[in-house]
Assembly symmetry: D2
Homo-oligomer: 396 residues x 4
């Protein structure tokens, strides 16, 4: 099929050319004397992306799911009581993992399209006089529904009750794209992966932890080997790894962190907000709704678009893929067939957003949805040409 | 700057991923015993793209300009009288070259935006009872103005007068993209380059010649070494070259020919017509005009869009480049500042065309042109969703 | 530093150019309708490399260590009694993992340089009337010492006592390089990684299991999520994965399996034997000894060379790296400073082996070891020129 | 075939990984406003490699042969008398080109294996009272025979007679590898190509000229278009080109110049001398002779090894290629079958040289030449371990 494949799923995201170049390398010895020249500065760069100043990061050859498991295994113990909420496929899966690993999960369910119920969290924390909750879990950006939750508010709820529970955050589809402040919010474990805001192929689970998580680690009772902090730390401190690391991805990560830090995190966030606003203007012009139930929950990295009831969103996605060589995100689980998703995170600019919108229009029209041709793209163009780019204020 | 650079100049065009992979190679010995396993089938594939059945092709490490020179040096003699026409920057440059090389050029000037004046050619050929014209030159697709001329009609004019002049064609921005039939039109020398329809980086001058051109070569009086047919033939017949060839590009060319032939030339042409029609629908919706003076001359590989008089097209192009990371083609020479060009040839699909149109809209709006946001993209979307893809009939 | 880095560690190994090309790709949607067109045939190709006919394979974004953990978590239960042996760093680490995960490990220690004590295994299996051993572990190729053990003999010992224990094999540095017959030896779990015989960057843990391992899985009591067979199977059957797979490596793996299967496994094994024999001829000519205690244990994928007592092998390795841009393998743990290792597996030919040997000679001479210049390379050359290549008999 | 192909021809040479990465790029607009940010500093870097301080360089999409033609066309006129010498295939071809282009060539023939006859040149220059010689040609490094000539001595001969002839030098296989001093020797035109010391794929003809060559250009009477200095200068001054340049190679050239200048030209030259000395030690140990007739002519970039009379060198080369995946250079024309060549220039280190020597030994032994296995490699190893690397003095 002629022409580029257009990738607008919420991860893997488009890989910057500089990163792609950097990964076009022969193999190297991960025990070479100068290997630390790559890795030790890299750990620091990754910490900067998380705004983690006093903790450390772990880079696992795995995925975000692996890093979820690493976070739990290394800081908690079987039977620990934890507070979680569930309002989309990824928050659902994290609850599932926690239970299968043997945590005692107190889960608050919310309709898909809502976010972390901060008030309910605050209430349960206040009620927890015995300090039984060992950890509170937050899915910062629910990738399945395009919902961003308020991590800072959860930290506030913990602080107000002076609760010692660890704050565990899934930042897989948020870190490196939208505001994230590990130090300011005192996030104890933040999980991410290489294939979203870090703009790399999948294959790295990235875990950024606070010094308090390191304290908790000393008491953590799960057996662990592959994901063990202790093994990692013993080697990482000298720039090495306890087993062969995914060197090609580390080289890529080094460059992708450079790209993010050169652009500046605030500018990166502002860009994501600007581009996401264009997408939302288009959806509005189409007369369609987001899955996100309220404006405050609208994600700047992914939009889940609800199609009219009589249409199966999978037809739109299949049409975009087969006729227009474009990958849109499918609806997962409960919202399968009801939504298609546009990933608008990572290495992205206005031209690419317009590609996504134009193809979505074509695929929707072809699938029988009554869309005025050009209406969505036009609304986005109108937004982009009226709103100055690069203003940090936009992201505030 | 974040996001891909969008390339919509009329060459270099976007390189297919398969081609890019194929060029990511270490060097090899161009005198190895099995080198011909690459090159001998490659010569045949390239001939197929030209629809050259009974002649041969030459692959020079150079550019289209080099292949222009090669065609003249190898088939003509200083002082030869030739018939040319001039209606854009590239037809202008070819005339300039012919004169500097010492040909006696009979040039017909036409306004930029028109094509080869077939009637005037026919008239002069009829008048040339002495058979003084050694060659007739045709710029098949004038890249500067987006004008496609009728090569077949020129062949007909030659045949009707039974004129023995060679038919020399500049197919740089046509071959591999729009209908070209070297055998049917008995084109004696057709010049092309790697960076247009062949979807490669610049660096190869591609020259496809008829058996009559080989006859003419025996009498051709220009001194020549680098571009010499005789040196090339002596080595090419065994799969080798008289000097080190650009092996990396040959490897890429092998794959790009495969891509063209797998898609099928008719399908490739139909795709270009479909995509170009979408672009023209957009230009019409914007209320703007093409540089091409008549519909019959509208090129399916490049559109030169005339901006309103009060606007400098260079501002539009600069804005697209600096604000939206998109390369549009500039107006050359006489039409500088008056047009911007959208290259729509090569490795291209609907999503890419819409990207070009959306960015053009943004850049024009930012430059003060009154464009209804989404109008052009909408017209293209309307065209694409109403017209079935892949119909060969479209290109007819 | 000028010139290629020469990589002769026992993994990561040199990546074939075809594989490198195949990994130079943009990202793709791992939920696309045609994703299974890549993965479903790939699972079959990987099985062929293991000679696994009736079981299945799992491809984890992790490492060999992760696949070790996956094998244990998915087929055994905490407290299970298992039989292991320890005679090098990797067999040591596997014992360590098994214990940390809560297995009751009956470990037989042997001097480093020996292999799996088949007789002792047989004896304990005979003594195990109660059938308490749930599994027997074999490190097929101990990468730290260059020792290959006899997996078939362990299977025979199991069969002779009709013992139902699972046979767990670490094939990280053997599969795809030396004879391995999962079906013939009825290996229940064979662990490998991408960066050895599969000639890829690190980043995939590859686990090949028998149908009996799948039965065992139903009773296996470890909690598991990231490495869970059940989650993998639920998705793999349709060509998908429970979380984002390392698509770039899957594309590479597809090509590296093609390369192995096109060369033919027997020919691959014969090539490794031929090249390893050349290396051993060189070591002999240098007057040095292998770490492998007996000829039967000499590995065809890695040789650990014992340096004279007065020399620190790390100096040789450092010299090779800094002066000659060559990576040799370091001695690990107990043999640190005593040996350097030459990895001779994967994408390798005679020229590369000679490079390794020549650099080893230079580094040893520079480190004060009395080596006759050219003696080792000469012995290898003598071997290579006297022994016909590509004879399958060689591997017998 | 397994393992890397080993490339030891005298060009194309091995491409450094950084260069390969830099060329793994999508296409870009060669008329973009910031294109000069790449090219203008690049022209300066290339000049530094030539030690050209007061002239300029031209980068043609062509080859060294094209740059030969460019030099003649742009500085001389048909019928001009020039002094040349011929002692190998490339000096032969340059004479042939000069004659075909219409120069009046006074050629001095010398046996293949000798270099430029400086005394004979001096004599003719002294005899040329009428100052009829418009140019004197020097093949700095005859690639076919491995002979380096003394450019400085020719300059001295010119100066001693105060002769105004232009000094034209073929530096294709010398520049960037062995001492070259355009300013010191007042070389007027120095021709090179991308695929030798510049460590790039073939595809660029590189021409470095003095200010005197620019004066001569004003009087030069050859017709020229593709290679025209005037067209190049008109565009280069702003960072652009008169036709589409080979951007991918320009990006590579930018990095390869960085690599050369970071290593330092003197260090690069010293490295080539050291590596070449190792090769010559090996040839001596084999009991074979160089084609170069005297020590003063021995090239540090390529060695032509004369095989025993009863052997056809082509068998050695074919054996190296088919059995050991190694490309050695073939004997050209007069020395075909009599020599094989080892290219030892560009991105090269001791390990690579030893690979070449070891494979040459194997291929010679297989071809029936009585070589003591390891003798050549041993001699090289002895040289490398006794001689400190990186001493600039070595190149003196």
């Amino acid at each position: 099929m002629a022409g580029y494949n257009h990738l607008f799923i919420p991860g893997p995201t488009n890989v910057p050319e500089r990163v792609r170049m950097a990964m076009n390398v022969p193999m190297q010895d991960m025990r070479a004397p100068d290997f630390g020249d790559l890795t030790i500065p890299l750990f620091e760069k990754v910490k900067q992306v998380f705004r983690n100043e006093t903790g450390r990061v772990f880079l696992y050859p795995s995925s975000g799911t692996g890093a979820w498991e690493a976070a739990i295994q290394n800081t908690l113990s079987p039977g620990d009581k934890v507070l979680m909420s569930r309002f989309g496929q990824f928050s659902h899966l994290w609850v599932d993992m926690a239970r299968r690993l043997g945590l005692d999960v107190d889960v608050i369910d919310r309709p898909w399209g809502e976010g972390v119920p901060v008030e309910a969290y605050a209430e349960r924390l206040r009620a927890d006089r015995a300090r039984e909750y060992a950890a509170v879990f937050v899915t910062h950006n629910e990738t399945a529904t395009g919902v961003t939750s308020d991590v800072g508010a959860v930290r506030k709820a913990l602080d107000e009750t002076d609760h010692p529970a660890l704050l565990m955050v899934d930042g897989v589809s948020s870190v490196g794209s939208i505001p994230f402040d590990q130090e300011g919010w005192r996030v104890d474990c933040c999980v991410s992966g290489s294939q979203k805001g870090f703009m790399l192929p999948a294959g790295l689970g990235i875990l950024s932890i606070s010094k308090w998580a390191l304290d908790a680690h000393k008491r953590a009772g799960f057996p662990r080997t592959f994901f063990s902090f202790e093994d990692m730390m013993a080697h990482n401190d000298n720039g090495y790894f306890p087993y062969t690391p995914a060197t090609q991805l580390l080289r890529g990560l080094d460059v992708s962190c450079d790209i993010l830090l050169e652009e500046g995190l605030e500018t990166v966030w502002a860009r994501h907000h600007r581009l996401a606003s264009g997408v939302r203007a288009a959806i509005d012009a189409w007369g369609l709704k987001l899955c996100a139930a309220e404006e405050k929950w609208q994600s700047d990295t992914v939009s889940a678009v609800v199609v009219p009831e009589e249409v199966d969103a999978r037809d739109v996605i299949a049409r975009a893929y087969t006729a227009y060589d474009t990958s849109l995100g499918t609806g997962l689980s409960k919202v399968m067939g009801k939504v298609f998703r546009i990933g608008h995170l990572g290495w992205l600019n206005e031209g690419m957003v317009n590609t996504a919108l134009a193809v979505a229009e074509m695929a929707m029209i072809d699938s029988g949805i009554a869309i005025e041709p050009g209406s969505g793209v036009g609304a986005a163009i109108d937004h982009f040409t009226r709103t100055p780019a690069g203003k940090i204020a936009e992201a505030a």
